[in-house]
């Protein structure tokens, strides 16, 4: 009798497990791969415009308080640090990638939307159709474009980029901060043929333990590995 009970319990566990797996597996796609993206190739001869002003701080007043900065100064002071940490991380994690001025993107086509999933869109500027970006007179084969870097407490990419779950803005919820988040939208661009290779939204989350400065450094620093992992899983074709 006990055995029968166990067997039926097992079935239930398997059934529930499968159900949750389906629920979990059918979540949104946070990246989109072009069908012509060469499978198995690594980042080769890639250029990356600097971050520049394409970063957003959510709840600046809170950061100002934590970092002992004046609210008026927080964007300027923190901006320098964010750009510096980001550039350092690129040099460390992507040594072959060559950085160019952030103003390069001013020559691109106006801002466009890029669809990743039925209700997930990113916005960014890409070279115009038929336009090849030349650096020192030469066309590199790939561009790594960071469209937007968002930093803030208790953020999640669903609330910002998933149009089904938007309007759940965490700013203004003055509860105790539990985590710090950095979210980047990015595209790996084929500079010769003029189309995207992979586009995605990556996020890095750390639990907040009161050490605002080091934790901020960590999430920005870890974004590049998170993003490269996504590009590589795009190459393999199986993103988690």
């Amino acid at each position: 009798m006990g055995k029968v009970y166990l067997v039926s319990m097992n079935r239930w566990i398997v059934f529930l497990g499968l159900t949750f797996c389906f629920m979990g597996c059918s979540t949104a796609h946070w990246s989109d791969r072009h069908p012509l993206f060469p499978v198995g190739s690594a980042l080769a001869e890639t250029t990356m415009p600097d971050l520049g002003e394409r970063w957003i701080l959510v709840r600046g007043a809170w950061f100002a308080e934590q970092l002992k900065l004046s609210p008026a100064q927080v964007y300027d002071t923190l901006g320098e640090d964010v750009r510096e940490i980001f550039a350092e991380s690129v040099i460390q994690n992507l040594p072959t990638v060559r950085a160019i001025a952030s103003t390069t993107i001013d020559s691109f086509a106006p801002t466009e939307a890029q669809k990743l999933d039925d209700h997930i869109f990113i916005k960014g500027r890409f070279p115009a159709q038929g336009q090849t970006l030349l650096t020192n007179g030469l066309a590199v084969s790939q561009l790594l474009l960071i469209h937007e870097l968002t930093i803030g407490p208790d953020l999640s990419r669903e609330n910002i980029y998933d149009y089904d779950k938007a309007n759940q803005d965490t700013e203004g919820n003055h509860h105790k901060v539990k985590k710090l988040t950095a979210i980047a939208t990015w595209t790996l661009w084929d500079n010769h043929k003029g189309h995207f290779l992979v586009s995605g939204i990556s996020e890095v989350v750390v639990p907040y333990q009161g050490e605002t400065g080091p934790e901020l450094r960590k999430i920005i620093h870890d974004l590049i590995p998170a993003l490269t992992a996504k590009i590589h899983c795009g190459i393999i074709g199986a993103c988690p």
């Binding site: 072009h34 069908p35 012509l36 086509a109 106006p110 466009e112 669809k115 890409f126 115009a128 159709q129 038929g130 336009q131 010769h192 043929k193 003029g194 189309h195």
Partner: protein, 427 residues
């Protein structure tokens, strides 16, 4: 036919035509076709040759007009797009991967209206052909800055005539539709969208119809009513089971009905109806007792009120369907028609024949569908089931003497009817 022809032609000409993607479009009579080339085309086809050959391949097209889309090649933005397309055509891409991103080029594509734009690209020995057209050429709304079709032809056709034959059978073989004139386009641009048409506040109707009524609902076991249907009236009053009227009466009859009702905002409504049916009494003709009888039948009149829920489905400009379900109550009474033969006098049994109750009441429910033509005329078809009986309004006291069964106390029959209706719409 189209498929067989294209297979036949392709087999004969030994061209392999591969469709990467194709969204069907409307084929216009006397089409205007623009042809543009990406910058990797070495031997551009001649539009005049293409048109002549297309008209020969598909005579139903009428007089196609073809010309080079020179403005596309001269304009720097659309020229850049053509250059880009030449680099990006591939059998693995979807239409969204070939979309024009520049808003100016997208606007140019919108302005194609009912014209077709064929863009050709060459890769080694393969010819790629893309089809663009404006919004008017598609039945379903779509993003017109994406190509509607991408096909590859291998080996590359030698001349415009061969290309027109291959592409004509594949792209222009549907029966063509007349293009709208400029005046009709203007009218279509300001015509109200039928999807936004207001639902009338009230829809009233009167109707007249006929149908058939019988005791046995189709597809139900015969045993349910066999004993009643087979029963006979003996000695003018005796039956085996007097609870159902079908023990006395032949249960099948044509019915005539008058109805009137209304629907509120196309959703719920009320209908009143009156129905007449006529039933012969089931007597044993071999019984000598009935020799005096000339005729004996009962007409049943039934009046009722039903509530219905309905929905509207517009089929086209003139016709719409309103399926509905209804539930209500009815009152019915029987009117006897009996007569003796001349030279006979009424027997005792004749004088003491069975009598129905003065009225019965019951419930009715069913489903139907109304085919409405031009809002005012409709053909209504419905099926349903109705009961007639006598319910006990009070609980009988245990001291009361056992009363005889009420004649026709539980009578159920089903019906099917068609009716013609006239509707008044109140907005």
């Amino acid at each position: 036919m189209r498929f067989i022809l294209s297979v036949l032609l392709l087999a004969l000409s030994a061209f392999a035509l591969n469709e990467t993607f194709v969204t069907p479009w409307i084929v216009w009579k006397n089409p205007e076709i623009l042809i543009a080339f990406t910058d990797n085309v070495h031997s551009p086809i001649n539009p005049d040759d293409f048109c002549r050959s297309l008209a020969r391949t598909e005579p139903s097209l009428g007089k196609p007009e073809c010309r080079l889309a020179g403005d596309w090649e001269r304009d720097s933005l659309s020229g850049a797009y053509l250059h880009w397309l030449g680099m990006n055509v591939d059998a693995r891409v979807e239409s969204r991967h070939l979309a024009a991103r520049s808003s100016q080029v997208a606007e140019r594509l919108h302005k194609l209206d009912d014209r077709y734009l064929i863009i050709l690209s060459e890769h080694h020995d393969t010819l790629w052909a893309m089809m663009f057209s404006g919004n008017r050429s598609f039945e379903q709304p779509r993003i017109v800055n994406e190509p509607a079709a991408l096909v590859s032809i291998f080996p590359k056709p030698a001349d415009a005539a061969t290309f027109a034959e291959v592409i004509g059978l594949s792209w222009f073989a549907e029966s063509p539709i007349r293009k709208l004139t400029d005046h009709e386009k203007e009218a279509a641009a300001v015509a109200p969208d039928p999807s936004y048409a207001a639902t009338p506040a009230f829809d009233y109707w009167i109707s007249m119809g006929t149908g058939w009524s019988q005791a046995a609902p189709p597809l139900t076991p015969n045993s349910w009513y066999k004993s009643r249907v087979k029963d006979h009236v003996v000695h003018y009053r005796s039956v085996k089971d007097s609870l159902s009227a079908w023990s006395f009466l032949d249960d099948k009859s044509q019915l005539f009905t008058l109805r009137g009702g209304f629907t509120w905002i196309g959703f719920v409504g009320i209908e009143a109806y009156a129905t007449r049916t006529n039933y012969r009494v089931k007597i044993d003709p071999t019984d000598s007792l009935y020799r005096e009888l000339d005729h004996w039948s009962f007409a049943r009149y039934e009046m009722g009120l039903t509530a219905h829920i309905t929905m509207q489905k517009k089929l086209n400009e003139s016709f719409s369907l309103n399926p509905y379900a209804f539930l209500g109550f009815d009152y019915s009474f029987f009117v006897e028609s009996i007569g003796l033969r001349p030279d006979f006098t009424a027997s005792e049994q004749y004088k003491n024949r069975f009598q129905f109750e003065s009225y019965y009441r019951g419930a009715i429910f069913g489903v139907g569908n109304r085919l409405t033509f031009k809002e005012n005329y409709a053909l209504d078809t419905r099926v349903g089931i109705a009961s007639r009986g006598k319910s006990l309004d009070q609980t009988p006291s245990p001291d009361a003497a056992p009363s005889p069964t009420i004649i026709g106390g539980t009578t159920i029959d089903c019906f099917a009817s068609v009716a013609l209706e006239y509707h008044w719409i109140v907005h």
